[in-house]
Amino acid sequence: MSRTPIVTLTGVHKYYGDYHALRGITAEIGQGEFFSLLGPSGCGKTTLLRAIAGFEDISEGQVLLDGKDMEGVPPNRRPTNMVFQSYAIFPHMSVAENVGFGLRRSGKSAEEKRRAVGEALEMVGLAKFGSRAAHALSGGQRQRVALARALILKPKVLLLDEPLSALDKKMREVMQVELIRLQREVGITFILVTHDQEEALVMSDRIAVMFEGEIAQLDDPETLYRRPKSRRVAEFIGSMNFLPATVVGEGNGRVSVEVLGLGRTELDAAQCPSGARGGAGEVGVRPESLTILYEGQTAEGGREADGTVKEVVYYGDMTYYDVLLDGTPAPVRVSMRNMPGRKVLDFGARARLAWDPRSMVLFC
């Protein structure tokens, strides 16, 4: 999809003394996009967000917002607004005063401001809370106030710094859906910082996975999940089994690999993001791409391998098995949807595994 770029980052570097926090970030974020910066703590994602907001000066490179160079432009003159991790609700003001804070310099009449605050509160589902004291709110409500306050100025870009990390699991899921709805409704570009890969997958149009101040991969959630470009990205997004493998031949856009425990498999060249350089590598396969065959079932193309169940983790809708394939040193994880009439295997049982080569990724 091609969108008009609203944020353009070119070769952005940030040093704190000797510490190199951002190492040449280049990315384009489109108008109306829900974009996530995903990475472990200390990867520079928050620094990058704060650099876009103007709270951090960058050491090198360029930040363009809506086509304008932001060099030397303070946060109060950038077309961005931010939802802070702590929400930063002004404790000495009411909910309405908080939400209307950004309108102080707008030159609007009191009546217009009152209406705008009312609409903003309506939008986040807090219509009746305007006169509440800010400190008398729950976590989820504070989050909504912070959102309404940041959106009332109709910024070009809304920046969200780990906005859901302070909420409990249930509330987080509610707010994820709420944020997606809100973003579609207002059509503003959202840039979300998160360390929660599930959150990023659920909400984003595109995700930039960051490690040590660099973007390791920038893709839509599905590509990121199905075709991670490196083992590190694959490990960070969801869970993946890694099996030692050897490239035994290639040609015609196909790569032939010998996978320990699973035998010989043909892969498409697209499944080798780092290129098949021959020799030793690893094949990654997601737990849900492995299947345990039941009695009498056979795998397509005879792709089967035998093993022993070493661990059973029952989740109700799913069961996770750790299966040690014959002739391999470490077990692989298999996730199976629980079906009526199908018994959950016991610890120590023998199991036959089948797999789909299209779901594999080769890392060399």
């Binding site: 907001a53 946060p75 109060n76 931010m82 930063a88 002004f90 000495h92 400190h135 306050r149 940041a150």
Partner: protein, 268 residues
């Protein structure tokens, strides 16, 4: 409640601590001129005597001018120092902050003598302004300690949020920072005022011919007949100090509550 040995100890401790202070109002309202038991009768004469002693009024006025000025100067200096100490990091910060806090443990008599020597070397007359300077020196660490608490209790992103929403650094200070640290400012003003009002050593060395209230009181001790009047004055001062401290603490706690924070200790 069962009174164990620790309870007895606590009781004795409090008695030793406060019994002498309780004696003050006792003799202030006692009609006998000699400070001795048994108490004779109830009188308000000593308080009345306070009213027609012009020297006392002058000393009181002096003390009030000094205490109010000290409270304002020390709090303004403390405000800057506390904000710098909690918001910025710069080389040598720990050392600089420690250096500013030093007067807290410096013997006052040393400070007083040093100030006096400096004044004499410069050929200046000591007086009210030099006492204000000395008191500001010893009160500033208290102001910093109180205000540092207010600043560090304040979420830093509050200021950033205001800037993000279009305010300048100065209007952010006025609209967000100041209202949130106001309880701390009031507490600091009141505590500095109280410290300055009670302070004797610096005032004694530097007061020249304009005594402050404590210095005047000390002078009166030479006249045994004036002793009950001194007791009356002391009673008023104790009551005033307690009231001011309670107000200061009330403001500090209200500030915490307003910011929705947990109390992590204070002066009371």
């Amino acid at each position: 409640m069962r009174l164990g040995p620790l309870g007895v100890f606590a009781g004795l401790y409090l008695m030793v601590l406060y019994a002498p202070i309780v004696l003050l109002p006792m003799f202030a309202f006692n009609s006998g001129t000699i400070i001795a038991f048994p108490l004779q009768g109830f009188t308000l004469n000593w308080f009345a005597a306070l009213l027609d002693t012009p020297a006392l009024h002058e000393a009181t006025l002096n003390s009030l001018i000094i205490a109010v000025s000290t409270a304002i100067f020390a709090t303004i200096l403390g405000l800057f120092a506390a904000r710098a100490a909690t918001r910025y990091s710069f080389p040598g910060k720990a050392g600089i902050v420690g250096f500013i806090m030093l007067p807290l443990v410096l013997p006052e008599v040393i400070v007083a003598i040093a100030l006096l020597i400096v004044l004499m070397q410069l050929g200046l007359n000591s007086g009210t302004w030099s006492i204000i300077a000395g008191h500001t020196l010893i009160c500033t660490p208290f102001a910093i300690a109180i205000l540092q608490g207010s600043f560090s209790n304040m979420d830093r992103s509050l200021e950033e949020a205001a800037v993000d929403l279009g305010e300048t650094p100065w209007s952010t200070f006025r609209l967000i920072t100041l209202p949130l640290v106001t309880p701390g400012i009031i507490a600091s003003l009141l505590i500095c005022f109280t410290i300055s009002l009670d302070e004797f050593i610096i005032a004694f060395f530097l007061s020249g011919n304009e005594p402050t209230l404590p210095v005047y009181l000390w002078g009166q001790l030479r006249f045994p007949a004036r002793l009950p009047v001194v007791m009356a004055l002391g009673t008023i001062l104790v009551a005033l100090s307690v009231v001011l401290l309670i107000i200061a603490e009330t403001f500090r706690r209200r500030g915490l509550k307003r910011a929705g924070l947990k109390d992590t200790g204070g002066f009371l």
